[in-house]
């Protein structure tokens, strides 16, 4: 069996269970989060509430700032990219982020399509706590048509 990225990425999620993931904006904050017992940190320029309050276009964080956080801690580092913005996701993969969060907190870059996650080797975050939440925004009619096409 060769390296199966899907399995390996699921396995990383298994290691984070029971832990707390903290939003941080600087290497200093990341160190505090790690010392306080966080099992991972989410690197972002401003905390989501501030981003929403400020309005305007909010983008992926500066890779230099993310790298600073990666160098400051030993726990996994996650970062957000805009919905549908696969180029931002490619940059995050290139700097070896541990998880990408394609997040509605940032300004959506595509009003129709999300990023094709199967094209990536690093895992993406899913914040859904149940199947119902995971199904939000999914067009049920379209699924029925697809299933009918496949004879299911």
């Amino acid at each position: 069996m060769e390296n199966n990225r899907f399995e390996l990425n699921k396995n990383l999620a298994q290691m984070l269970k029971g832990g707390v993931i903290m939003d941080v904006t600087t290497p200093e904050q990341a160190k505090i989060a790690e010392a306080a017992g966080a099992c991972a940190v989410m690197a972002l320029e401003r905390i989501p509430a501030d981003i929403r309050a400020a309005g305007g276009v909010s983008r992926m964080s500066d890779p230099k700032m993310i790298k600073g956080i990666q160098n400051a801690v030993s726990i996994p580092v996650m970062a957000k990219c805009r919905i549908g913005h696969f180029a931002e996701a490619q940059i995050l993969q290139a700097i070896e982020i541990d998880y990408i969060d394609e997040s509605e907190v940032l300004s959506p870059a595509d009003d129709k399509y999300h990023i094709d996650k199967t094209a990536f080797d690093v895992p993406f975050v899913c914040g859904a706590k149940a199947l119902g939440e995971a199904m939000v925004g999914i067009n049920e009619q379209e699924i029925e048509l697809l299933m009918a096409e496949r004879g299911k």
Partner: protein
């Protein structure tokens, strides 16, 4: 036989499922009073060693578990569990239970993109699946620590008396052989003890 599984953070349920498949009951160690129930061995699972190390201390589990290990309680540490047992961690000033004569390197294969799967020889078992997730490896061992497996020139499994460690995660694959090996270690210890009692 009952095996304690440190259940503070990480992949402890996976270990419990492996033990259940082998017909061995497990006991989740979450707080100090859980240590009052007798158990024959302890598994320290994968997760984040910084988190588990902090919780071990804050929940007053640290000293009691360290004493139990020093008294010979069989222990099996995977990934973060390996780091918690290591006497030296090359790229970290902090050590934790520090009961085993090994020097480990944290996140030795890099970040998640460095996580990988392989199949390698494990001494006394044969070729087994090995899943490495942001894994450490062992740089060197000393005293009576025995190397049990190597992958790409690095030590990934070792044993010292009643202590067993793997840098990979046997609980993530279907193969039960490393857990069987640990159960055998516990059985062997019971036999040793009864020999001692006979001689006494």
């Amino acid at each position: 036989m009952q095996i304690g599984v440190l259940a503070l953070q990480g992949a402890f349920i996976e270990h419990e499922k492996m033990l259940a498949r082998l017909g061995v009951s497990s006991l989740e160690i979450r707080q100090e009073k859980d240590l009052d129930t007798p158990f024959d061995g302890l598994i320290i699972p994968g997760g984040e060693s910084t988190v588990q190390g902090k919780l071990l201390r804050e929940l007053n589990l640290f000293d009691r578990i360290k004493t139990m290990l020093e008294a010979g309680l069989p222990v099996f540490g995977t990934c973060a569990g390996l780091l918690l047992l290591a006497k030296k961690i090359k790229n970290d000033d902090r050590t934790h239970l520090a009961t085993m004569d090994i020097a480990a390197v944290r996140n030795a294969y890099g970040r998640q993109l460095g996580s990988f799967y392989t199949e390698k020889e494990f001494k006394g078992i044969g070729t087994i699946p090995m899943t490495f997730i942001r894994a450490p490896y062992i740089e060197n061992v000393w005293n009576d620590t025995e190397i049990l497996a190597e992958a790409d020139g690095h030590i990934v499994a070792a044993r010292q008396k009643n202590q067993l460690v793997t840098a990979f995660h046997p609980e993530l694959n279907d193969n039960l052989s490393v857990h069987k090996y640990f159960i055998q270690m516990i059985n062997d210890k019971h036999i040793d003890n009864s020999e001692v009692n006979k001689n006494a």
